[in-house]
Amino acid sequence: MVESALKLERARYERSALVEWLTTVDHKKIGILYFWTSIVFLLIAGFLALLIRTQLIVPGNTFLGPETYNQVFTMHGTMMVFFVGMPLNAAFFNFFVPLMIGARDVAFPRLNAFSYWAFLLGSLLMLSGFLFGAAPDGGWFGYANLTSSRLYSPGLNIDFWVMGLQVLGVASLASALNFFVTIVNMRAPGMSLMRMPVFVWMTLITAILILLAFPSLTVGLFMIMFDRYFGTNFFNPAAGGDPVIWQHLFWIFGHPEVYILILPPMGMISEILPTFSRKPLFGYTFVVFAGMGIAFLSFGVWAHHMFAVGMGPVPNAVFATTTMLIAIPTGVKIFNWLGTLWGGSIRMTTALLFAAAFISMFTIGGISGVMHASVPIDYWQTDSYFVVAHFHYVLFGGLVFAVLAATYYWFPKMFGRMLDERLGKLHFVLTLIGFNLTFFPMHFLGIDGMPRRIYTYSAGMGWDVWNLVISIGGYLTALSFLVFLYNVVRAFQRPADAPADPWDGRTLEWAIPSPPPAYNFDVVPVVRGRDAFWIEKYGAEQVVGPTAEPHGPASGGSPQRSHNPNPGQHAGHGQGAPSGHGGQAHIHLPPPSWFPLATAIGLTLMGTGMVMHASDTLGSLGFPVVGLGIAVVVVSLLGWTFEPIHEQAHA
């Protein structure tokens, strides 16, 4: 069996590396593609942040004009949310969720590849606006009627934004469906829901959030598109429309989006802290249910982004209350992470330092969030730099710190190489100082009444000192990323000799080599409790998690290598093959495919055609290109449907 898998590996190496990456459906390769793509986008969006900070370093600066500045801050925000935050999370979902649940791939490997290509091409479509001097300039929130009317935004800027986001939305929805089905259907025997690692739980909840939240954005974007292209008046007050409808649609998506971004990092923290404390997560059940509570509440708080809109005191009071409720499950998580560290045997690795700093920094962002929930205070803080400070503490102090922790933690598993710990600690210290120097003084600017999204301010406003400090902090943060990149480059200059389990890990991904083979597990593991690998290594003082065994035997025989008596469980995986280790079966791996890439190209062509249609010079080519895109999508989907998936079944 292992031989056949090796043969399969060898067969794959015969393809050129480029073709291999373009057609791969391996969740690990796709995870790596997501990882590097979002790191590159992180560098671009970070560079945009430096442009912002350079423009604001002194009052009355003319480094960037207003037109460029508005494009730069819009793309910084849009990219950090859609091109960096979500795909970085997706990189870790892709690589680690199947490993952590003991699966050989995701439920729909080709759909997974499609998600990546649609994400990449949609991002490039939007970014290409810079080439035409027409990058999106309406803010990442794109408020109508500024964005919906060609009277107020005549250029192609908003068209790039709308079309790019639509493609990205399809990518996110496909990916969310995939991970939902994967987690529900593809768990190894014994991996009951309440035994799943918390990161897998948070991925599941995030997938549900994406499935429920993105349609609202899609609908809103279609309405903007129709207003801009086809003369509808959804957001045109002169014709009885209402621009505030966009705000509702956007924030019904936009607030769950915050948790789409932050729940996976909370999952990462919940893996890293136990590993480096050598203790299980404190209050697993509470952490899981707190995640569900946050997700549920997140759909009932959107209007807290709109307190100043003038909805009236009753709606404001209702949304203030629901928003404050979210602080309860969030607080529970923070206390549980502290409880995890308490009494542990803590190893001060870079991953742990970033994870511990996450707790503290995220607390600042969480507390200032409670301030915004207090409506009268929000009347002052909304759209001021106080809010900019708040969400950077959540997204940088939260998401970025957690993702960096996860990178130091999982890098050996992904690439077979350890990152250097000394450089890592330097990176950590620089990041912590640079980040706080950048974002903490923004609270002060909020108190001093500086509004967001202004490209300049006059010398008499008394904002120069802190803007200077913030810009210096920004450069320092950029420097810290250079240290990180240097660390990564150094790692790739060394041989790939990372051990399978460098951290004394607790979950299943550490049971297999670093990097894992294409088929992940020789034999599908049988899970006997939470922290499945820890139990196999040290034995369970007491097996944790539900004792009922819906998926297979937990006791009796040699558990780790036992037969799976119930191959039907894996029907979703095709052929029920993973059951075998008796030699009669092979490991079935889905063959590579061109159709995901082709479908994504067709989809992006449709968006490109729509942008062209709005241009002066290529307008007449617009709809033909849309038609071509539709044709490519249809043909690719047909090919996809009829593509044999058992190509190498005879191998």
């Binding site: 203790k279 404190f282 607080g331 759209d383 009444g449």
Partner: protein, 344 residues
């Protein structure tokens, strides 16, 4: 990590934070838009709500960080140690306690919050002054419907007298914000939002648009002049005068000719009461000479700045809506400036 280095680092952190606190003391609250010195009841109540919540937040943060740092120090793995701590999975009592703790804190915050929401929304009494604030890309128009006064970028109100500001927009969404006087209220086309507050301090308070509204959002500023009732009445009487008569200064009279010549397009957008200039697109210029700022608060109102503006408005404020049909000569600019500055 050596113990010594750990201590040096913490000491350094303490020193840095002390420095930060020292800097903070001298560099916060000095802006003319600093909210920590409220000059009106609206912002005053907000600030009074903020201060206790702020200190509560400091305590919570300090507590979490102290526990975190203590745990990291106390339970760190010593060199050569290979300890397997007890595999403790949780403690239901503790969990319930720390679920209740935030709930109680939030309840404490929620009570004054909810009552202030309704308090701030209360209708003012009949003595309130009514002003209509109209957002334009990228300047503010202020109308006093009861007093028949129209002005731009400079709002005059009366100290200790409630003002009821009706907010309208002719184009996109803006937000009306005078930080020291009141919180924000959005200005939405098709909506009739109202913001009510009472200024308590005589003075000039800058404000600006707080909702991104296009290329010149940064330069959609205005000032609020809080005056005594007598000063305000005098201002109103002056603003009610039309500017029909030809100025005595020959240069200004020439400027008036230029201004009113339809081919020069000024009157297509601007109005001067008492003349045939009745444009409604740009700011009403009847008393432009009496105002402190022009160009959406971007420039102080001086002959030099006005001349700069008339020479090339797009160079001063890129993207703004003022488009000249042709380049004016220096002599024409001089005349126009003389005329406009005469409109006191």
């Amino acid at each position: 990590m050596g113990k010594g280095r750990l201590w040096t680092r913490s000491l350094l952190a303490c020193a840095l934070s002390l420095l930060a606190v020292a800097l903070t003391g001298c560099a916060i609250g000095n802006s003319p838009q600093s909210v920590n010195r409220p000059a009106g009841d609206h912002m005053g109540k907000i600030w009074d709500l903020f201060v206790p919540i702020f200190w509560l937040s400091v305590v919570i943060f300090a507590l979490v960080t102290a526990i975190l740092l203590f745990a990291l120090w106390r339970f760190r793995q010593r060199p050569g140690e290979d300890r397997h701590p007890e595999q403790l999975h949780g403690n239901t009592r503790l969990e319930i306690a720390w679920t209740m703790a935030p709930a109680v804190i939030l309840a404490i915050i929620a009570v004054p919050t909810l009552s202030l929401i309704f308090d701030l929304d209360r209708e003012p009494g009949p003595e309130a002054l009514t002003v209509r604030a109209i957002g334009h890309q990228w300047w503010w128009e202020f109308q006093y419907p009861e007093l028949n006064v129209v002005t731009a970028n400079e709002l005059h109100i009366v100290v200790d007298r409630p003002v009821r500001i009706e907010l309208h927009s002719v184009d996109v969404i803006h937000s009306f914000w005078v930080p020291r006087l009141a919180g924000k209220r959005d200005v939405i086309p098709g909506w009739n939002n109202v913001l009510t507050f009472t200024p308590h301090e005589v003075g000039v308070f800058p404000g600006q648009c707080a909702e991104f509204c296009g290329i010149q959002h940064a330069n959609m500023k205005f000032t609020v002049v809080v005056q005594t009732q007598e000063e305000f009445d005098a201002w109103v009487r002056q603003q009610q005068q039309p500017a029909a008569e030809v100025p005595a200064d020959p240069l200004a009279a020439q400027g008036r000719e230029l201004f009113l010549t339809p081919a020069n397009a000024c009157i297509g957008c601007h109005a001067v009461a008492g003349t045939e200039a009745k444009g409604k697109v740009g700011p009403d210029l009847t008393h432009v000479g009496s105002r402190g700022i022009i160009a959406g608060g971007m420039l102080e109102n001086s002959p030099e700045n006005l001349a700069r503006w008339l020479r090339n408005p797009q160079a001063v404020k890129p993207g703004n809506k003022m488009v000249l049909p042709r380049q004016l000569t220096d002599q024409e600019i001089e005349a126009l400036v003389a005329y406009l500055m005469s409109l006191k």
